[in-house]
């Protein structure tokens, strides 16, 4: 297992400097120990994907970085600042945005209110016209109740609202889950465009075929640990291993 190698020497920078550094990250849900020492890096401008089976600890990793897991230990550095003890509102204000797996669309808010909900935390967020350029459906449904949108539209709304905030580091948790292929393709185009515009993205995906269209690097999570990591150019060579890891 290359676990130790990854812990000591995370995959190399693909583009800019190191923006996120996770070391020995552990997390608990109550008495359940979920993460057992996660180590990985994300570099500025990259799309990094966490792959793994259900229950491997991918979502918990994102939530731990975001500070919404009650008990966590280890080190998470964002732009060289330690955030392991910071509250989630402070982490968000440092420029990290989180799009949850369940999308988190608020039923008591219409689409416009959902879109405008996250406060702008720094300059550089996408203006509304650019957001509507990315997701034209949302413009037509601004006055609809958020939860009345289709699954794909809700996913677009969930991504759109964090683009307004000025956060440059986006964490997207299974953005393609339960969506039709045509919507998955649209989400893929959006992620590629966001990458071109300089966003750094940490993606959690079970669908590695989708991930392979957008990711620069991959880490495989199993039993709360990173057990392997490779770049997109190494994907073909690692396909058999990946199938074994993911059980596909």
């Amino acid at each position: 297992m290359p676990d130790t190698a990854i812990a000591e020497a995370p995959a190399k920078a693909a583009t800019g400097g190191n923006i996120l550094q996770v070391r020995n990250l552990e997390a608990w849900y109550g008495e359940s120990h979920i993460l057992h020492g996660i180590n990985f890096d994300v570099n500025a401008g990259e799309v990094v994907t966490l792959l793994g089976r259900n229950g491997a600890g991918k979502t918990t990793t994102l939530k731990s970085i975001m500070g919404i897991i009650g008990k966590r230990a280890g080190s998470v550095k964002f732009n060289n600042q330690e955030i392991i003890r910071a509250t989630s509102d402070k982490i968000a204000r440092m420029g990290i945005a989180f799009c949850p797996e369940e999308r988190g669309i608020f039923a008591s808010l219409d689409v416009r209110e959902n879109l405008m909900l996250p406060p702008v935390v720094r300059e550089g967020g996408l203006p509304l016209d650019q957001i509507f350029d990315l997701f034209p459906n949302l413009k037509e449904r601004l006055n609809s109740q958020g939860t009345k949108l289709s699954g794909g539209e809700q996913q677009m709304l969930a991504i759109a609202r964090i683009l307004r905030t000025g956060a440059s580091f986006l964490m997207l948790d299974e953005p393609t889950e339960g969506l039709a292929p045509v919507i998955i393709q649209q989400i893929g185009h959006t992620i590629a465009r966001l990458k071109r515009e300089g966003f750094t993205i940490l993606l959690v995906e079970q669908n590695f075929r989708f991930a392979s269209t957008v990711a620069d690097r991959y880490y495989v999570v199993e039993h709360g640990k990173i057990i392997d990591g490779f770049s997109n150019s190494e994907l073909a060579a690692n396909m058999d291993k990946l199938h074994a890891y993911l059980g596909v």
């Binding site: 975001m66 500070g67 919404i68 509250t87 989630s88 509102d89 982490i91 968000a92 204000r93 945005a97 989180f98 949850p100 988190g104 608020f106 039923a107 008591s108 808010l109 209110e113 405008m116 909900l117 996250p118 406060p119 935390v121 964090i162 905030t165």
Partner: protein, 287 residues
């Protein structure tokens, strides 16, 4: 006929207090998930603060309308920070018992120092007297209470339903963890919301002081009816609390005219009927 109109007016005034108090309860329940049994005691504190401001500081009614809600609101925020916040995630029963205990302590302290009889609080000069409307005589102060309460209720509804701050509040009611992960300081917002709900109770207390006098148990007498109003309107529903508050005040007033024997129980009979037909209340949503 004059007696009917008079009872309607009394009903509207009671409805104003029901609406203001149940609105505060609804805001607090919606955001903190706490059944705030201390609400009646905080309403009483509003009236007492107005009394102290006038008799100890020479501060008149108009300033008391502003200062008493702020002072009692700050007291409420201290209660939330020091006690209520620890109940997050626990069964409703804990919040109910804690706030009930707080109510008993606060009322007990005031009763110890001021007894059970009422202390007088004069109607401000500008609102003394009345108007002959032809079909009835309208005391100006009572008309003012109805209009001012309605304005405050609608302003609160607007704040919660139509502003960005209100959107934060509504979203945090649904999913506080995610709202916090967007960069909003939810614990601070919860404290301020409790302060707002308590402030509304204190405002009702100030409005009530010239009509009902200032008594340590004035809130205890009212709070059970107000809880019935909230249950009928739908727990946590803002507009439901306002409409139900005024409507039940009027229904109670009409019952006093047509069948006085039932005037003290009509609200509870309605509550039972509503719970049987629509357990979430008239405007409440299922959990």
């Amino acid at each position: 006929m004059q007696a009917l109109y008079a009872q309607l007016l009394v009903g509207l005034i009671n409805g104003s207090f029901y609406a203001l108090l149940s609105l505060g309860l609804a805001v607090i329940f919606g955001m903190l998930n706490i059944i705030n049994f201390a609400h009646g005691a905080l309403y009483m504190m509003g009236a007492f603060v107005a009394y102290f401001l006038l008799n100890l500081g020479g501060i008149n009614y108009w300033w008391a309308l502003l200062l008493a809600p702020i002072i009692v609101g700050i007291f409420g925020m201290i209660l939330e920070r020091t006690m209520l916040q620890w109940l997050t995630g626990l069964d409703h029963l804990y919040g109910l018992l804690l706030t009930f205990g707080i109510a008993l302590i606060v009322q007990g302290v005031f009763q110890n120092y001021f007894g059970s009889s009422g202390l007088p609080y004069a109607i401000p000069d500008q609102l003394k007297g009345g108007m002959n409307l032809g079909f009835m005589f309208l005391p100006i102060y009572r008309g003012w209470v109805v209009v001012f309460s309605l304005v405050v209720c609608l302003a609160t509804w607007y704040l919660i339903e139509k502003t960005q701050l209100g959107a934060y509040l509504r979203a945090a009611t649904e999913n506080p963890t995610l709202v916090r992960a967007f960069g909003i300081n939810v614990p601070r917002m919860i404290t301020l919301t409790y302060g707002l709900g308590v402030g509304l109770a204190a405002l009702a207390g100030v409005l009530s002081a010239p009509i009902n006098q200032v008594r340590p148990l004035m809130g205890a007498d009212l709070i059970i009816v107000v809880f019935a109003v909230v249950v009928i309107g739908g727990m946590g529903s803002i507009m439901g609390s306002i409409i139900t508050g005024f409507a039940l005040g009027v229904i109670e007033g009409l019952t006093k005219y047509f069948y006085p024997e039932a005037s003290n129980t009509v609200v509870f009979v309605l509550m039972v009927l509503v719970l049987l037909v629509k357990p979430t209340g008239l405007t409440g949503r299922a959990a």
